[in-house]
C-alpha cells in the first residue's frame, strides 16, 4: 500500500505546473500593467477565463496600447477558484510585478480576499466575475469596484418578475460558499419582502456534478419555484438534471450567462427568465461589441467579458484624464466620470464601490425563435440602475457616511 503515499505528489505537481504556466513578462518602469486574475479551467472558465483576458486585451488595443507615453501590458493567471492561490498571485503581482489594476476576479471568495489585499496595498481591483454583495457592503474598499452585476440586482430582477406571475413559494439550491450564500440571502429577502414564502434551502458542495438528490428534495418540498443560487457548470448540470427527472416546477436560474445557455441548448433552456447586465442581442452597440469579440474568441461575450472590456477602458481613460497612475487620483477620476459605452449609459461608481448601470430581464428563446447558433435571448424589460441595485442607504459599507 506504500504506493498510495504518493497520491499527494501529483497534487503538488499540479499546483507547481499551474504556477509555472503563468510566469509574467518583465515589468517596465512606470508603464501601466493590468492583471486578469480568473478561473482558467474550472467551473467558471467559460463565463470568465480566457475570454476575460481577450476582452482586456481588446480594451488595451482599442485604447492604442499606450497611456501617458508608456506601454500598457497585460498579465493573467489562474486562481483555480481558491482564495489562497488568488491572494498569493495578487500579492506577487503587486509586490514584484508592479501590477496597477486587477480585473475579472470571478468567484466571490477569491474576489473578497483580493479586494482586501488591494485596499491594503493601495491598488485598484475591479470585480466583474464575482457577484457577492459583501464586496460593496461589509467588505467594501476605497480601491475596489464591483462592475458588471451583483447578487442583489440579479436576484431582484428575476424574483420580482416570477412573483408577478404568482410564483410565490420558493425552494433554493445553494452553492456552499460566499457567493451562494449572498445570492440565496438576497433572493430570499426579496421573495419574502414581496409577500412570497421560502420553503427550504439545501446547500450543495461547490462544485458538484450530480444534483439529482437535491432536486428530488426540492421537488418534494412542493414549492412552485426551484431557485438555483449557483452558477456556471453547477447551474447547467442542475437544470439538465431537473429536466431529466421530469420536474414540473419552475426552475429559476438566478445567475445565468450566455455561455450557460449555449451549454444547455435552447431545447432545455427555453422559456427561462433571468437578469443580466449585458447580452449581445440588446441593441446595435452591444451587437457590434459581441461580433468583434466573437472574431477573436469564437464565442459571444458573457456579461463578465463585456464588463472586463468596459471597466478596463474606463480605468485607462481615468489614468489618461488624471495624468498619473496614482491609484487615489485614478479612483477619484473613475468615480467622477460617468461611463457611456455599449455596456452602460450614464453608469456611475458609488462610494461603496458599486457600479450602477441598467440591468435587463431576458427570456431564453425557443428553438423556433432562434435564427442562429448564438441567437438565444430576447429582452423583456430594462431595469433602471437606481432600481436594480441595493440602495446606498440600506448598505453596510463603513466608507459611506450616513
Amino acid at each position: 500500500m506504500k504506493h498510495l503515499n504518493f497520491r499527494i505528489a501529483p497534487v503538488a505537481l499540479a499546483v507547481l505546473i499551474a504556477c509555472a504556466a503563468a510566469t509574467p513578462a518583465q515589468a517596465g518602469p512606470n508603464g501601466i500593467r493590468i492583471g486578469v486574475l480568473t478561473d482558467m479551467s474550472g467551473t467558471y472558465a467559460a463565463l470568465a477565463g480566457n475570454g476575460s483576458v481577450v476582452a482586456a486585451q481588446m480594451a488595451i488595443d482599442d485604447f492604442g496600447g499606450k497611456v501617458l507615453g508608456k506601454p500598457i501590458t497585460l498579465v493573467s493567471a489562474d486562481h483555480q477558484n481558491k482564495p489562497d492561490i488568488g491572494v498569493a498571485k495578487a500579492r506577487e503581482w503587486f509586490d514584484t510585478q508592479g501590477v496597477d489594476m486587477v480585473n475579472d476576479l470571478v468567484t466571490s471568495s477569491v474576489a473578497i480576499a483580493v479586494q482586501k489585499l488591494g485596499a491594503e496595498k493601495h491598488r485598484i481591483t475591479i470585480v466583474n466575475g464575482a457577484g457577492s454583495t459583501a464586496l460593496t457592503n461589509k467588505e467594501c474598499s476605497a480601491y475596489g469596484v464591483q462592475y458588471a452585476y451583483d447578487t442583489y440586482s440579479i436576484a431582484k430582477g428575476t424574483a420580482t418578475a416570477l412573483l408577478k406571475q404568482g410564483l410565490d413559494s420558493w425552494f433554493f439550491l445553494q452553492a456552499d460558499y460566499a457567493f451562494g450564500a449572498a445570492l440565496q440571502g438576497d433572493a430570499a429577502r426579496i421573495v419574502t419582502s414581496l409577500g412570497g414564502k421560502v420553503l427550504g434551502t439545501v446547500k450543495h458542495p461547490f462544485p458538484s456534478s450530480d444534483f439529482s438528490s437535491y432536486l428530488v428534495q426540492a421537488q418534494s418540498s412542493g414549492a412552485k419555484v426551484i431557485g438555483l443560487a449557483n452558477a456556471g457548470g453547477d447551474f447547467t448540470n442542475a437544470v439538465k438534471q431537473a429536466r431529466e427527472f421530469g420536474i414540473k416546477q419552475t426552475i429559476a436560474g438566478l445567475l445565468v450567462f450566455d455561455s450557460d445557455i449555449k451549454a444547455l441548448g435552447l431545447q432545455t433552456a427555453q422559456g427561462m427568465k433571468f437578469t443580466t447586465g449585458y447580452t449581445w442581442e440588446l441593441n446595435p452597440e452591444t451587437e457590434a461589441f459581441g461580433k468583434r469579440f466573437f472574431a477573436r474568441f469564437h464565442a459571444m461575450p458573457t456579461m463578465v467579458h463585456a464588463g472586463v472590456y468596459s471597466s478596463t477602458m474606463h480605468y485607462l481613460e481615468a489614468v489618461k484624464a488624471a495624468n498619473t497612475d496614482n491609484p487615489e487620483a485614478v479612483m477619484k477620476k473613475m468615480r467622477d466620470t460617468p461611463v457611456n459605452d455599449f455596456f452602460a449609459k450614464g453608469g456611475r461608481i458609488r462610494e461603496d464601490g458599486r457600479f450602477v448601470h441598467d440591468m435587463y430581464l431576458v427570456e431564453v428563446k425557443t428553438p423556433a425563435e432562434s435564427k442562429s447558433t448564438w441567437d438565444q435571448l430576447k429582452l423583456l424589460a430594462t431595469i433602471p440602475g437606481d432600481q436594480a441595485y441595493q440602495p446606498l442607504a440600506e448598505g453596510q459599507c463603513p466608507l459611506v457616511r450616513k
Binding site: H3, V216, E244, S259
Partner: protein, 302 residues
C-alpha cells in the same frame, strides 16, 4: 432532520445506487489495471472523458470532420464502438509508454499517467468549451421517467445502472472463471513461469490495459447524456473513484464493485442529512479504513 420520511430515504438510496454504479464501473477498471499491471492509472478519468467525447464527436462532429454526409454515430453504435476506440488508445499507451517503465517503481507509472491525463485534458479544453456541451443523442426509447412507487426515476438512469452492473459481472466472470482470466492472473503472479508455458505475457498486459481503458470509455459514453460533456468531467470524478479503490482494496475486483455501490448510497444519504458533508464523507471513510485495515476492506495484507 430525524423525521425524514421513508419515501425520501428510498429515493436517495436509488440515486445513490445510480452514482455508485458509475463509481463501481470506473473503480473496476482501475482495480483491473492495478491488480494485473501494478500501474496506478491516473489517466483513468481522462479515458472516461474521452469516452464521453467519443459519443459527442460521433454524433455532432463526425459528419463535418470527415465530409461524408450522413455519417453519424447514434448512441447505440457509440456504446459499442467508443469503448473499443478508447481501449485501443489504451493499448497504444501501454505499448509505447507504460511498457518502458514496467520494471521501475509504481510511482513512475503514476506520474506518467497523471501527466498523460493533464495532456489529454488540455487537448480537449483547447478544442471544446470548458463549460461542457450537451449530448443530445439519448435514444427515444430511454426518454421519460418511470414511476417506482416512491419516486419518478428517469428511464435512462435505470438503463445506465443496468449497463454498469452487467459490465461488472461480465468482467468478474472473465477474470475469475475463464481460461483467459486464469492466464491473466498467472501472468501477473509469475510472468517468467507463465511465458515458459508458451503464453504471450506482453500481449496479456496489452489486453489488460485495453480492458481497463474500454471500461472507462464505456462509463464515459453512458455518462454523456446525463452530464455536460466537458474536458474536466473526469478530473472531478477520479479523486472519488480513487478513494473508492483505496477503501475497497487496491486490485480487488469484488472490493471495487461493492465499495463503489455502498459509497454511492452512503453519499446519497449524507446529501439529505447534511449536504455540505457530501463531498467529504468518502474521504473520511477512506481515512478510517486506512487506519483500521491499511490494505482496504477487501484487500489482502501484503
Amino acid at each position: 432532520m430525524s423525521d425524514i420520511p421513508l419515501q425520501a430515504v428510498l429515493s436517495q438510496v436509488m440515486l445513490g445506487l445510480n452514482n455508485g454504479a458509475f463509481y463501481a464501473l470506473l473503480s473496476l477498471g482501475l482495480a483491473v489495471i492495478y491488480g494485473m499491471l501494478e500501474v496506478v492509472n491516473f489517466a483513468h478519468g481522462a479515458l472516461y472523458m474521452m469516452g464521453a467525447f467519443g459519443a459527442l464527436i460521433g454524433l455532432e462532429y463526425l459528419e463535418a470532420w470527415t465530409g461524408i454526409p450522413g455519417l453519424r454515430l447514434t448512441f447505440w453504435w457509440a456504446l459499442l464502438l467508443v469503448p473499443l476506440v478508447v481501449g485501443a488508445f489504451g493499448v497504444l499507451v501501454e505499448a509505447l509508454l507504460l511498457r518502458r517503465i514496467a520494471r521501475l517503481e509504481p510511482i513512475y507509472g503514476l506520474l506518467l499517467t497523471f501527466g498523460l491525463a493533464l495532456i489529454l485534458e488540455g487537448v480537449f479544453a483547447n478544442g471544446f468549451s470548458a463549460a461542457g456541451e450537451p449530448y443530445n443523442g439519448k435514444p427515444e426509447a430511454l426518454e421519460g421517467v418511470v414511476n417506482l412507487g416512491f419516486m419518478f426515476f428517469p428511464r435512462y438512469r435505470l438503463f445506465s445502472m443496468l449497463v454498469a452492473v452487467l459490465s461488472c459481472v461480465a468482467v468478474w466472470w472473465v477474470i475469475e472463471r475463464t481460461r483467459l482470466g486464469a492466464q491473466l492472473r498467472a501472468g501477473t503472479e509469475n510472468p517468467a513461469v507463465t511465458s515458459a508455458f508458451g503464453i504471450n505475457v506482453p500481449r496479456l498486459r496489452s489486453l489488460t490495459y485495453f480492458l481497463g481503458a474500454a471500461l472507462a470509455g464505456l462509463a464515459g459514453v453512458v455518462a454523456a447524456p446525463i452530464y455536460s460533456v466537458g474536458p474536466h468531467m473526469g478530473a472531478e470524478l477520479i479523486i472519488v473513484v480513487f478513494a473508492v479503490v483505496v477503501i475497497g482494496g487496491m486490485g480487488s475486483i469484488l472490493g471495487a464493485v461493492m465499495t463503489g455501490l455502498a459509497l454511492g448510497v452512503l453519499e446519497g444519504l449524507v446529501k439529505v442529512v447534511y449536504p455540505p458533508m457530501a463531498n467529504t464523507v468518502v474521504f473520511v471513510i477512506m481515512a478510517l479504513v486506512l487506519l483500521w485495515r491499511p490494505a482496504g476492506l477487501f484487500g489482502r495484507e501484503a
